[in-house]
Symmetry: C2
Subunit: 234 residues, 2 copies
């Protein structure tokens, strides 16, 4: 059973060789569960699409931001692929109009639920990959993310999160953060150091690392993320 | 500055067009930090390689285990790509022999540390992808994982984790697990249900879902993972 998906395929600028992949991507488990015969839902395609999206976005960020280190790239990536962003793209492409939902899910407003739309968006990406391979999936993702890439990334003057955190904490609280080594674990040659960092506002961050310095840097990076959360990317 | 990596390239059965990518993949930050001039370390390539590996393994599992649902695939994938597995492959390929480490890292046994080797393995995968594209990276990963794929996946008779957990818990503890709805959050049309599951041994699992049933199923799946952790994949 293949529906008329021609409007959707025009909208997403991708024409499937095998439209059955698109049909599966649009089949929510709640609909599949209501059918008398077994029908495949979109959950396996979502699993595939999630990994396709992650690599395509990673590759683009890697090439676009040559001066960014991996911590900055991770942060940009997670904003781009988070549920809310994917649901927005799904709505822009009118994917919600084409979803097959079960009666209960429909009644509860599932057609406008961000988590459900984000999953369907990933499933459609998985379907494009299965249908056309990596190169086609990449072109598709570049189209749907065309206006989503940040213009710049937040510049960190260096990788020294401890020094940076001290500046920010002094400026905001007139006090320094404190670091405590809470323990170590693992065999001697693979020892892991555990650190707890406390900010003057009482907020606390745990981290681990293969050296005390690394564990402190990681904790400091987390605290910096927390303190600068609302400053945006660019 | 490009070293003689011909033995390594023979060992991994991949010849780089631009061997500088391989050199970067083998440069640990501890070595780069000791150089008088700025040198790129392998951390950005590790970030890229991690996503390449995830997609290649996901694609293979998707095609290999057509009857497996996404929860099973996720579980198999995490065993395949975990630190210990990647470090083993790095040692099989003699990547440790070619790593550039700083003096301190070398003295502390970094050359045999699993986390460091797993990171380098991901960086080498990232380097192959950058050098040869997705198809070459996929061939490379299929070679290095040739004898790693599980023959079968653990059969779950259905997706009904609650029933399965009840069986397992009754058999092991002669008691049932208990489920408590601990709260709900979010607006009415996107309400999230929070559930706490208790096992008779006192172990407790929290989960969330867009329905009470889904939250309970997710909690049950976590508890099953915990109870069957050491039974292996096949």
């Amino acid at each position: 059973m293949v529906e008329d998906f021609s409007r959707l395929q025009q909208g997403i600028h991708y024409r499937f060789s095998q439209v059955k992949h698109l049909a599966t991507a649009l089949t929510h488990s709640s609909w599949a569960n209501e059918q008398p015969e077994p029908v495949e839902d979109n959950e396996r395609l979502e699993f595939l699409g999630d990994a396709v999206l992650e690599l395509c976005v990673t590759e683009e960020l890697f090439k676009r931001f040559k001066g960014a280190h991996e911590g900055q790239l991770t942060k940009i990536r997670s904003k781009l692929v988070k549920e809310k962003s994917l649901a927005t793209i799904a709505r822009e492409l009118d994917i919600n109009d084409f979803l097959k939902l079960g009666r209960g899910e429909e009644a509860q407003g599932g057609r406008n639920r961000s988590s459900l739309l984000a999953d369907a968006m990933e499933a459609v990406i998985g379907a494009v990959f299965l249908d056309g391979g990596y190169a086609e999936a990449q072109k598709f993702i570049m189209r749907i993310f065309a206006n989503k890439w940040p213009a710049t990334f937040k510049i960190e003057s260096s990788k020294d999160f401890k020094s940076k955190l001290q500046e920010v904490t002094q400026a905001r609280f007139k006090e320094r953060p404190t670091y405590v080594l809470t323990g170590t674990k693992g065999p001697e040659h693979e020892k892991i150091f555990m650190v707890n960092l406390n900010l003057p506002d009482g907020k606390s961050f745990d981290s681990e690392g293969s050296s005390l310095k690394k564990a402190e840097q990681t904790a400091a990076a987390k605290a910096l993320d927390y303190l600068t959360e609302d400053e945006g990317l660019s």
